[in-house]
Subunit: 269 residues, 4 copies
Amino acid sequence: MPHYKLVSRDNHPQNTVIKLGKTQIGKGITIIAGPCAVEDRETMLKTATALSALGVHILRGGAYKPRTSPYSFDGLGKEGLNILAEARKYSGLPFVTELTDVRHIDLLCAYADIIQVGSRNMHNFSLLKELGRIDHPVLLKRGLSATLEEWLLAAEYIMAEGNQNVILCERGIRSFDPYTRNTFDINAIPAMKNLSHLPLIADPSHGTGRRELVAPVARAALAAGADGIMVEVHPQPAQALSDGQQSLTLEEMAQIIAQLKSVTPQLAG
Amino acid sequence: MPHYKLVSRDNHPQNTVIKLGKTQIGKGITIIAGPCAVEDRETMLKTATALSALGVHILRGGAYKPRTSPYSFDGLGKEGLNILAEARKYSGLPFVTELTDVRHIDLLCAYADIIQVGSRNMHNFSLLKELGRIDHPVLLKRGLSATLEEWLLAAEYIMAEGNQNVILCERGIRSFDPYTRNTFDINAIPAMKNLSHLPLIADPSHGTGRRELVAPVARAALAAGADGIMVEVHPQPAQALSDGQQSLTLEEMAQIIAQLKSVTPQLAG
Amino acid sequence: MPHYKLVSRDNHPQNTVIKLGKTQIGKGITIIAGPCAVEDRETMLKTATALSALGVHILRGGAYKPRTSPYSFDGLGKEGLNILAEARKYSGLPFVTELTDVRHIDLLCAYADIIQVGSRNMHNFSLLKELGRIDHPVLLKRGLSATLEEWLLAAEYIMAEGNQNVILCERGIRSFDPYTRNTFDINAIPAMKNLSHLPLIADPSHGTGRRELVAPVARAALAAGADGIMVEVHPQPAQALSDGQQSLTLEEMAQIIAQLKSVTPQLAG
Amino acid sequence: MPHYKLVSRDNHPQNTVIKLGKTQIGKGITIIAGPCAVEDRETMLKTATALSALGVHILRGGAYKPRTSPYSFDGLGKEGLNILAEARKYSGLPFVTELTDVRHIDLLCAYADIIQVGSRNMHNFSLLKELGRIDHPVLLKRGLSATLEEWLLAAEYIMAEGNQNVILCERGIRSFDPYTRNTFDINAIPAMKNLSHLPLIADPSHGTGRRELVAPVARAALAAGADGIMVEVHPQPAQALSDGQQSLTLEEMAQIIAQLKSVTPQLAG
């Protein structure tokens, strides 16, 4: 059996809470929302302001995007980071963005509040080790078909180097049914909360790949014990340069938050 | 693309509600509970009476059990049906039990209130057709690795022969992670409720295979829109002849129902 | 760990060989071929005669077809059996056909030389038990997502009732890649030959679902130790009522056999 | 549908052949063998010399090893590269070794003949792009649960930057059966040879994870059209620091090559 040391709840019974301004990830419910990719300044600022008004706590948006094809739009790069920083200033929301290249780590740390490791890099151990040497919180997505053991040990890689600020993110596993893009692994929510003290966020957008399933799976994840949700939102999903099929409109996001407030006291304040 | 006729919500927008005494499956939350297999008269009567007192609506228990090995305990057969009928009399609860052989259909209909099709028989089309010719409600479990399309068409098999009283039951799919027995497919809950008008029950016992995950996944399934849950309960799980690892004690079942009552108005009455 | 008794090579070191007229399944290479379903008398007789001339040993053809949708063509039933019997008379080839309903067992035994259990019935334990009480050889296909353990124990179900004439058939497992219908599990070929003394046939037609992959996967299965292949052949695949996409023409089948003869001395005679 | 440009056989009908000294990868059968990791100088030199005598064409050995746990042995690093270079001098065999960190690319290019991208980095697009800017041949393993489309597009990433010397390597996919470590995808062999002009190597060691299955699956892969095999060999598998369970002894490797020579004319010379 694997030796989980730093990641294990056995060795650290109390929940880890990561503070980020007024937000406490791992205490109450944290809502992260935003577009798949930063596409242009105007859309991003408008989206950020609207999400802030809805009660979202953290902004998401990709400046460097891992794409299956080398010929797909892969993000605005540094320009995207500048736009995200401006969106933070206007909206007051901190932001999370994905690191896709170990050589960008200083650049991303200079801009972002939380560094995301995407599913495709969960097994990129040299990148994980470098993230262990910084202080920024790291949002560690589960790999495409990673076992719980592999996911826990990926977090252990970061923590073993010194950085204890790891946030886990369940985003679905690959399965056989073509109806959904991925299969959101609801079992993983209580299982990981039992096995580890780290905060756990659910990503029902990637976990389903279908807009109409995002809200019910978000509710399910919170009911199962997740510490928050991360949702893709785009003012005009049909025009999105990536992931439009699973992105919610601002109106749909407002409805989700209203629903959650009715059942989750932590959000009502 | 498949032609869903009778099973499809497109052709039948309103929810199907199946009445069984005072219970309405598909309206409010239905709780089904009981042991994996009927093991002996005394235990079954005690369990049934206790579950009735807790507010459970329907009793479950296997008299004919499909087992992977021909050398495993496979149920008490007709004696098990007699015990279930007696448990119904004492507890006032209707019961569901599994049909494993098309030649037993008259026997089971003479005893049971609901006939269950287990995962291993979801593709047993001759059995499905016979179930279409009776009036009893049929609880149709999803196959071990069945797609949503295959599951819908299995229901269509029953309905095409005349019996519209079909209840769907999600019980997890087979995946790669050894940590859980199956992967409960939470996406399937809202997806099937969108695609079909039939009632949908969640089985978090088989969907997880681990006792400590049953309650959170039950809550998740209801939050995602399931019409009820089916849970394995045994007075002494460690002594159970099958599925002990995933069975709850009566005390654990009482806790689940108390939790559900606090969040689900339909159960509070 | 499971107790494999009758199925296990540990308890029965020498290979089981099943004799059927001049054919010995489990000794040398056995070739089974024919259409997915019997469609009409003329086509079946023509196909059988041509396959016999090519050196095929056993004819296949479905009279009762398990179909995902209740509205699909599901075989000619008893008329199909009569056509198969006539094809046997003309071609001199014995035939295998699928049992889909336990109540048809006497009927099929009166006609067929080998009884097939399809993937969808590998877990149909009442059907397996009845097949244990007859003498006919049983071709037991692996279930859609069955583990090797489950497959071995399905054979054990038949053998525990008395019938030792079981032939295993690997036909692919369900996986995540939409490019192929199934993933042919080549590992299962040597693994099952190590674990069991039973003959093992490969079905590259269902194992791939694509015509152009059938020949290379057939060669691979034989190279890995399979005792034979079962291939879907149709004089006009584009007109086939089922499985046309994976059926070979008679010309393609002739090429496969010619290739095999060049590398497999047993076929050259 | 994806646009395969450089990787596609449609746009490049003839097979790509990559020359490496006397070896031509993509023409005839190429055999790559060696330990999972370089463990010490003496063992490596002994292994290399023995493999050269057996007729192996290319040496493998990891100096930087991706390991699931941060506490496992992860290779000798630069010292391992020096040992590999020495083994090349003694044995006359070129070697392939894995790149796990984009920042090591110059170092590895200074030592290795072929650069390997492991399964865990198939989706590491920044690493793939850098490999597109060098001239060394790249052995691109299929990701843990990558579709054929994703694998082809990973090759396209490298080729789009200029490096056309890509060798594909099938090493099994993740599936549900605990009996084998992975499921070797035999369908992928002819499918990828149809879709792409690139050479394709089979890795039956990782594809099965069990020593006794390596030889039959190697034969199967070659029968299905693979251009070669890559096999883990260790003088004393029980003492190996990683992957001992799937490593062959030198004697077992000798047997495999003898078997292959008897059926593969290209190796007989």
